[in-house]
């Protein structure tokens, strides 16, 4: 079973990696001449795709990123050379421009890109394996650690991690308290039955409904109320933000945490509870000193499940604070360091945006896969950390149980 899961994970990873690599791989540049309806044409272009019937090429993007795509049938091709002195420039805004030789090329309108605009300049057709690998690594790093303006997803990465951690900080105490109340105090009373049924049903509600709920309750309700109280001219809390998003996700994952914790509590032997009570422990002391320590692995399981569920959800966040472009990170060196009312970027949203971007479909699709891969790495990384901690605890528990 575990093997099968790992296999599935490996397959997903393999597909993502294979697609994502294309976002960073250098593309060879060709000198082309072909026949078209408008007569014979000639161009220096990156060959993005080629098969037996046609080529897809991208000429210099003088106007904007993603323009200048062309499809050329092999039958119309008159000439195809791979000049050794062909070079590709990548500008800071993501556009790519091709030329031969070292001089900065001239745009059709007569202007030239300034040297300061150039982010990367490579001899596309003469790259050794080592150079290719270095180039790809540098591009991948720029993607992961770069700002949004430069086509990077660093703000989204930070947003995702901060959001998930804040969500856990909110949901764990609440979920554990609820589970304790349900399992230890409420018995089989009416309110407990209602709450249990609610939890079971809430676990199945589509995520976007939580988003709507969070919008109405947190953003418009609480946030709007706070703004009105503070007479702020511009909405600060009354708009989407990190805190509202974390709370929405906390609501979303609450059932998971409560159910997993309750299962853990149910596995604590009655003999231990009785032993503590018989020594004069109050119910709270018994729970705190005996039951919760024994149930600690179950709490970490609850945490793992919550992170796994929360990190993958994007739909509800779009309603309560995740945006395509946020001017500032939610976590920075400026007091109070964690900015709870700020809008933020999220890797899940980046995946959507890149995948649906109209501009440069092949390049953006590849980047969408790269962003998805990064999101997966974040989720798996957080889970792995929790699993390591849980296994340590289990080992300790096993040692204690020898």
């Amino acid at each position: 079973m575990a093997g099968l899961c790992l296999l599935a994970l490996a397959a997903v990873l393999a597909v993502l990696v294979q697609q994502a690599v294309r976002a960073f791989a250098p593309v060879p540049v060709a000198e082309l001449r072909w026949r078209s309806d408008a007569g014979e044409q000639q161009m220096l272009a990156a060959v993005v795709f080629e098969d037996a019937h046609e080529l897809v090429v991208r000429g210099s993007e003088w106007q904007r990123r993603g323009a200048e795509y062309r499809r050329i049938a092999r039958a119309d091709l008159l000439q195809l050379d791979w000049p050794a002195d062909a070079r590709s420039l990548r500008l800071h805004d993501g556009r790519e421009i091709h030329r031969r030789g070292l001089a900065l090329p001239q745009a059709p309108d007569g202007s030239r890109p300034a040297a300061a605009d150039v982010a990367e300049d490579v001899a596309s057709n003469r790259l050794s394996r080592g150079e290719t690998a270095g180039l790809m690594l540098r591009r991948a790093w720029d993607f992961v650690a770069g700002t949004a303006q430069g086509g990077g997803v660093f703000p989204a990465l930070v947003g995702t991690v901060v959001l998930v951690l804040l969500m856990s900080v909110l949901v764990m105490p609440l979920g554990v308290l609820l589970a304790l109340w349900l399992h230890e105090y409420a018995g089989s009373g009416r309110s407990a039955r209602v709450l249990r049924a609610a939890m079971a049903n809430l676990a199945g509600v589509p995520a976007v409904i939580y988003g709507l709920f969070g919008l109405v309750l947190f953003v418009n309700g609480v946030g709007g109320g706070v703004d009105a109280l503070m007479h702020s001219a511009t909405p600060r809390w009354g708009g989407g933000g990190l805190l509202w998003s974390a709370l929405t996700l906390a609501l979303l994952t609450l059932p998971v945490v409560v159910i997993a914790t309750e299962e853990g509590l149910a596995r604590v032997p009655a003999a231990l509870r009785h032993g503590a009570l018989a020594l004069g422990a109050t119910r709270a002391e018994m729970l705190w000193r005996v039951v919760l320590p024994v149930a600690r692995p179950a709490l970490l399981t609850a945490f793992i499940l919550a992170v796994a569920r929360a990190a993958g959800e994007v739909a509800p966040l779009m309603l309560v604070g995740a945006v395509r472009y946020a001017p500032a990170l939610p976590l920075d060196g400026e007091f109070p360091y964690l900015h709870l009312s700020r809008q933020f970027m999220h890797l899940g949203q980046s995946v959507y945006d890149l995948a649906l971007a109209g501009g440069d479909a092949p390049r953006d699709m590849a980047q969408a896969h790269a962003a998805a891969l990064l999101l997966l790495v974040v989720v798996v990384g957080l889970n792995a950390a929790a699993i390591v901690v849980r296994n340590r605890l289990r080992e300790r528990a096993r040692e204690l149980a020898v």
Partner: protein
Amino acid sequence: MSAREDAVDAAVMPPDLLAGRELALEARGLSLDYSERRALDAVNLQVPRRRVTALIGPSGCGKSSLLRCFNRLNDEIAGCRVSGEVRVLGLDAYAETTALPELRRRVGMVFQKPNPFPQSVADNVAFGLRLAGLRSRLELDDRVEAALRAAGLWEEVRDRLDDSALRLSAGQQQRLVIARALAVEPEVLLMDEPASMLDPISTLRFEELVVALRERYSVLLVTHNMQQAARVADYTAFLQAGRLLEFDATDRIFTNPRLRGTEDYITGRMREDRG
């Protein structure tokens, strides 16, 4: 409840047996049901102070259930209902105003199955002391050592106090939970077959401990070992099928029981113990 039922039945117990003795525990007309099944039926039992009282009877007759009435641990068992009167050290245990932690601090319990916490040996023994608010490292160490010595476990665990209690052998665990109960110095001790897993030497040491405990504690001891009851108990109560059939001084009950049932059970067990 009428006055006639209220009085301890003369057929069960000689009327002047405990005359003038202070009582540690007292059950009057105590009945106990698990869901639909009756486990105790109108039990009248008196356990004198600073004496050892043995509770004997066949398996399933309700000994453990009876013990759990005196520290109200039955409250924890779903579907368990108790009726009648239970007095502990002169107070009504089932009164609204009874503070359970306080009651249970005064009435210690050693369970039928050893139930050490998954913590270190020392933390197990210190558990009740910490609950009572004791914080001083030195004093905790002293009291832990004293309790372990009293339970006859100190020599075996003195250099593994920080090891997990769950690594101790079953017999060691049994003495550990005795030490845990002794550490808080309760006034009454409920012991449910506390020597069932002990070797003969440890059993002997345990019996010496119980005899020594008489000085300060009131002990109610469940045992299936008739010799043990004869050796350590001042009084013996015989329970069968949820009813208290006979209560008397131990030497009388073992030499000259008034009921056939008591005699049959005791001689049967004696023969079994020997064979």
